[in-house]
Amino acid sequence: MDRSSLNNLLLGLSRLADDVPMGGKNYVEIAWDYYIERAFNMNIKDKFKPASNNALDLCNAWIETMDKEGLLDKNNYQLSNRGESVDIQVDKQNCTYYEYCSTAKEEGLPLTCPRMLGFRWIVTNQGGRQYQLEIEDFVDAKPCSGTIYPGERIKQILCRDGDNLCVAGERAIVLSTHAFGILVKTIYDYAPHLLDRVLYESTYYSSLVEYEKVKSYFNNPRETVEHLLNVVQRLGNIRYEIAEFDNLNKRAVIKAYGSYMAEIFVNNELSTSPKTSCASGRGRLAAYFTKAWDEDMVCEEMKCEAFGDDYCEFILLPKYL
């Protein structure tokens, strides 16, 4: 395939990854990993002769082999190791995938580095140990930089398991807001005093589990919470923004846009008068921060889209205060 077609194909993959629910660059990486695996097995395997199984030697052997095959120019690459990690620098101007990266960056599409993915794949598959890839932001004036390091790859929150959908490894169903609204309204009609509590606790307990499943992938509580909030956003629930995050005093302020609960409350007239409605949002955030700071946290909603505000505003604080 010529260079232009290859880049266009990658752009198409990124575009698809952006549209697919729970998509993102992960999908590009999954697709590319599969492509590398097939290409390696078909054309490279027998010629691949690393000096040892450590990451740096694997990476060097990869460059040499690819260079000999005419698939890249080894002079464009600089490798150095830090412990078990390998820092990689690529001269982007001569890179085959330059058009893909610069266009994806410009269009705001999920972006990953095909070259560095190669390093990750070879080290993971030939070294026998899971490696993760972290890439620095694409900046035209500077060489591309990234690091591969030992680490579990984060599993997809939403994925297919045969005929079933799974969320966080558990079977899940997709429900429209209309259908969910009817469910909520039924609770409101028959047990109005329970609605708030039901919504709060259902998301609270499920969010505790979510946090547990992903916390090992991240270095600190903020990263974990950011990831989880991003997942919620990609699930189409609500877009969160961390406005304040005070580790020391265990206080946080979160803004949220496009609350589905506010929409449901207003459309189904689930209260006698306009009021703050996002009990499920409160439950979710209280759970995340309880886990993040190892403190029994509560969440109060100070602003709400159901009230006509521009966003919902949540305050997190320790219950004991």
Binding site: H193, T272, S273, K275, V298, E300, F307, L317
Partner: protein, 240 residues
């Protein structure tokens, strides 16, 4: 769609009884024996107040503000963020010694109480309505003569009505003379009478809305229980 904002209790069964809601400037009396659940009702009222974006002033006569804060947390609202934003103010009329700026001693005159109440109201956040809860007003009246009480009562409710404030006054049955209740009843728009019905061996909590002005009201008896996390749960008539 209603343009005028109306106030509710935040307790479904009671809100059903008041239909379209209370206009701002309404006065509510919650009357009942000790332990029947007046303060629980008040806590839910506060929760509803804050959820509606109204300001709330809570006058603590029968327990300290600290105890009231814990009570609110128990029923699902943490008061601190609202206090920090000036939307919720506790006035300590319970402690023996001054505990801060918003303090009232039982030894002080009712004129001083009025001045303090006015000062707190004036300092509330602008642009929002205010509700005020006195828990309990009968404690405030202890040891004062009837004429002073009536004068104060009339004057205060007039001021609050003029200011468009929803006032909820809790009254403990054992504290005030029945005659005083009767005399002050006409000053209120809504009276909720809470009591124990049923037998002495198996008492059951009940409430009755005694009066409502310029609007329909349901005068039937409602039974309720108190859930430690939710508060008052009105047992609705299953036939309705």
């Amino acid at each position: 769609m209603r343009n005028e904002k109306m106030g509710f209790f935040g307790i479904h069964g009671i809100d059903c009884m008041i239909g379209t809601g209370l206009s701002y400037g309404s006065q509510i009396m919650i009357k009942g024996t000790s332990g029947v659940g007046k303060s629980v009702l008040a806590s839910q009222f506060v929760k509803e107040t804050l959820a509606c974006r109204d300001n709330c002033i809570y006058i603590c006569c029968d327990q300290s503000p600290g105890e009231m804060r814990e009570s609110l947390k128990q029923y699902g609202v943490h008061p601190l963020p609202y206090e920090e934003r000036g939307r919720l103010v506790f006035v300590d009329a319970y402690s023996l010694e001054p505990t801060g700026k918003n303090y009232f001693s039982s030894e002080d005159g009712l004129e001083k109480y009025l001045a303090l109440e006015k000062e707190v109201i004036d300092h509330m956040v602008n642009g929002s309505s205010t509700r005020i809860v006195v828990d309990s007003l009968s404690t405030l009246f202890l040891g004062r003569d009837n004429q002073e009480i009536m004068e104060f009562h009339r004057y205060r409710l007039k001021l609050l009505k003029r200011a468009g404030i929803i006032a909820m006054d809790l009254m403990v049955d054992e504290v005030m003379e029945e005659s005083m209740f009767k005399l002050s009843a006409h000053l209120y728009d809504v009276i909720i009478n809470m009591y124990y019905a049923g037998s002495t061996e198996r008492p059951i909590r009940a409430l009755h809305m005694g009066k409502m002005k310029s609007g329909k009201f349901d005068s039937s008896q409602l039974f309720y229980t108190i859930d430690p996390n939710i508060g008052l749960i009105i047992m609705q008539n299953l036939a309705s």
